[in-house]
């Protein structure tokens, strides 16, 4: 197995002056990401996500532990690595602020030594996929946040990197911009088989883009697996909301499932159950046997809640 990212027991400490103390931002973290994998890297503020990203891109040395990214040591080989990875820091810009967006792509393309024809083809794909055409000739400083972020992603993907690291790429974007960005990222990964590491506070990003989720807390891995597995392992209940055609006081439910609320005079029933015990379909069949269902919806537990629960359970 070749690892795109291989972090072995990395620790990073910062010395804070006044009062003098050592803060451990990352604490003995081990993380391996296979070639082609898409990993959501999630945690509360200050959990160590950004510090980890800085270490794996080579702009920060770990205090202890070994880091290999695409087989390279990031700090000494930072500029080599920069040719093979694409990074978006949601809070920072890699575009030239006062130049038209198009110029940034021209400069980055020649920095990455792309052949002119390959660069033109790749840029055309990015312009189309991220809908950049309307503002390609505007100076970056005039772009809206959503436009600039699409530009940032295009800049990170221009050289067709093997590994893409996105640090909060959707921060501050509206729903439509977020969705457009996610759709393109999914497409581009499908076309090129890129490895993706994504940090975000928006759990919809993880659900749409990642197969695997790694939750960090206090600089350590709190969970590593699938999103569904995370839900199951925590046994966070799912919630089924059914609206009945005619009011009904009580629904007979199998053991383990329970009605938590009856609203609108018996029309709307909120039912909680565990995925491990019941399937939503079986539950629904049981309900439709008793009453006509006019409408229904499923509420998945938000990942924020899951993460909070993991943290609460940690000793």
């Amino acid at each position: 197995m070749t690892w795109a990212i291989d972090l072995q027991n990395i620790t990073r400490e910062f010395t804070v002056r006044r009062p003098r103390r050592v803060v451990r931002a990352v604490d003995d973290l081990t993380l391996q990401v296979a070639d082609g994998e898409a990993v959501g890297f999630v945690g509360a503020n200050g959990a160590g996500k950004s510090t980890t990203i800085k270490m794996l891109t080579g702009i920060l040395m770990p205090t202890r532990g070994t880091v290999r990214v695409l087989g390279r040591r990031p700090v000494p080989e930072r500029r080599h690595l920069a040719r093979e990875i694409g990074v978006v820091f949601g809070q920072r810009s890699q575009l030239w602020w006062d130049l038209p967006l198009r110029d940034s792509f021209a400069i980055l393309g020649s920095m990455h030594r792309l052949a002119p024809s390959a660069q033109a083809a790749r840029l055309a794909r990015l312009v189309e996929g991220l809908d950049l055409a309307p503002f390609l000739d505007q100076p970056v400083r005039q772009l809206s946040l959503g436009q600039r972020m699409r530009g940032e992603v295009a800049a990170a993907l221009l050289h067709s990197p093997r590994l893409v690291v996105l640090d909060e790429p959707t921060i501050g974007l509206d729903m439509i911009s977020k969705e457009g960005l996610r759709r393109f990222l999914v497409e581009d990964r499908a076309e090129r088989g890129t490895t993706l590491l994504l940090t975000t506070h928006d759990m919809a990003d993880v659900e749409r883009l990642c197969e695997r989720i790694v939750v960090v807390s206090d600089g350590r891995t709190a969970y590593d697996g699938t999103l569904a597995g995370l839900r199951d392992s925590l046994r966070t209940p799912r919630e089924l909301v059914v609206d009945l055609a005619a009011p009904l006081g009580v629904l007979e439910l199998p053991e383990g499932a329970q009605t938590v609320a009856v609203e609108a005079g018996g029309i709307r029933h909120r039912i909680r159950f565990h995925a491990a015990e019941h399937s939503a379909a079986a539950l629904l069949a049981r309900i439709t046997a008793q009453a006509e269902v006019a409408d229904l919806s499923m509420a998945e537990p938000a990942i924020e809640d899951l993460v909070r629960e993991i943290f609460a359970r940690r000793p």
């Binding site: 891109t57 080579g58 920069a82 030239w96 130049l99 020649s110």
Partner: protein
């Protein structure tokens, strides 16, 4: 590498769009040029003879060339690199597949190219109209002068970069920057030629890189020194550029090793 050419050209274009700023800069440079010329000419008039080897026309030429170089060498300092270190944007520069200083130098070349034309030529034109300019006797003074101007821009860029790179260790660098600006404006010979200094101060100035930024290119271009002397000055400029480049590069290396990029 073509990337630097692309970056320099794009920066040149960018500056060429700042027409109002350019016009305002030209106006200011020219007005201050008139003031400085009046002062120097009054001094020469009062002394009744040459001062430090300058005739009245050479002194006026000195002022106009100084005003022309002011913008291209960015005599009042820049803040870009220091700000990027302070805010953590430097992380982005470090993630580019090109050396940090080379990327910023390419931008400087584009910027200086525009500033030479847009901010450099107009004060010279004003000088021609108001006082006239002393022209060199040897045709060699022109190519040597132009080379010396280019090297002056390089030396100024590197020294300014060193000041900015101190931001890796200093959270607040404005005081240091102001100090540097005052020392540079004096010892470079921008305010008055260093040959007018008391001899101890002139000797002090001559062991610093500052005369390479203003005194040397002006003397070479105006023909106040012979082409042979200009060649010596150019040699010194090259030497200083090398030394400052090594220092700046060492600072980048040390700074990135100790770097704790600020902010998320």
């Amino acid at each position: 590498m073509p990337a630097y050419g692309t970056l320099a050209a794009a920066t040149f274009r960018q500056y060429s769009t700042y027409r109002v700023a350019t016009a305002a800069g030209v106006f200011t440079n020219s007005v201050f040029g008139l003031i400085r010329v009046s002062i120097l000419l009054a001094a020469l008039d009062a002394s009744g003879q040459e001062i430090g080897g300058y005739t009245a026309l050479q002194a006026a030429t000195y002022v106009w060339l100084g005003q022309a170089l002011l913008a291209p060498i960015e005599a009042f300092g820049t803040r870009t690199i220091g700000e990027r270190v302070r805010t953590g944007e430097i992380a982005v520069d470090l993630l580019r597949p090109a050396p940090l200083l080379a990327v910023h130098l390419a931008q400087k070349v584009g910027r200086a190219g525009f500033l030479l034309l847009g901010r450099g030529l107009p004060p010279l034109l004003v000088g021609v109209l108001v006082t006239g300019l002393a022209l060199p006797e040897s045709p060699w003074s022109y190519p040597l002068g132009i080379l010396s101007v280019a090297l002056a821009i390089l030396v100024s860029f590197l020294a300014d970069a060193i000041v900015n790179l101190s931001a890796f260790w200093l959270v607040e660098m404005r005081g240091f920057q102001t100090l540097y600006m005052v020392v540079m404006n004096l010892l470079s010979g921008f305010l008055i030629p260093i040959t007018w200094f008391p001899s101890w101060l002139e000797s002090l100035a001559r062991i610093t890189p500052f005369p390479s930024m203003v005194q040397t290119p002006i003397d070479a271009l105006s023909g106040r020194i012979t082409p042979a002397e200009a060649l010596v000055g150019i040699g010194l400029q090259i030497l200083w550029a090398g030394i400052l480049a090594l220092v700046a590069q060492a600072m980048v290396r040390a700074g990135t090793r100790s770097l704790e990029v600020q902010g998320g």
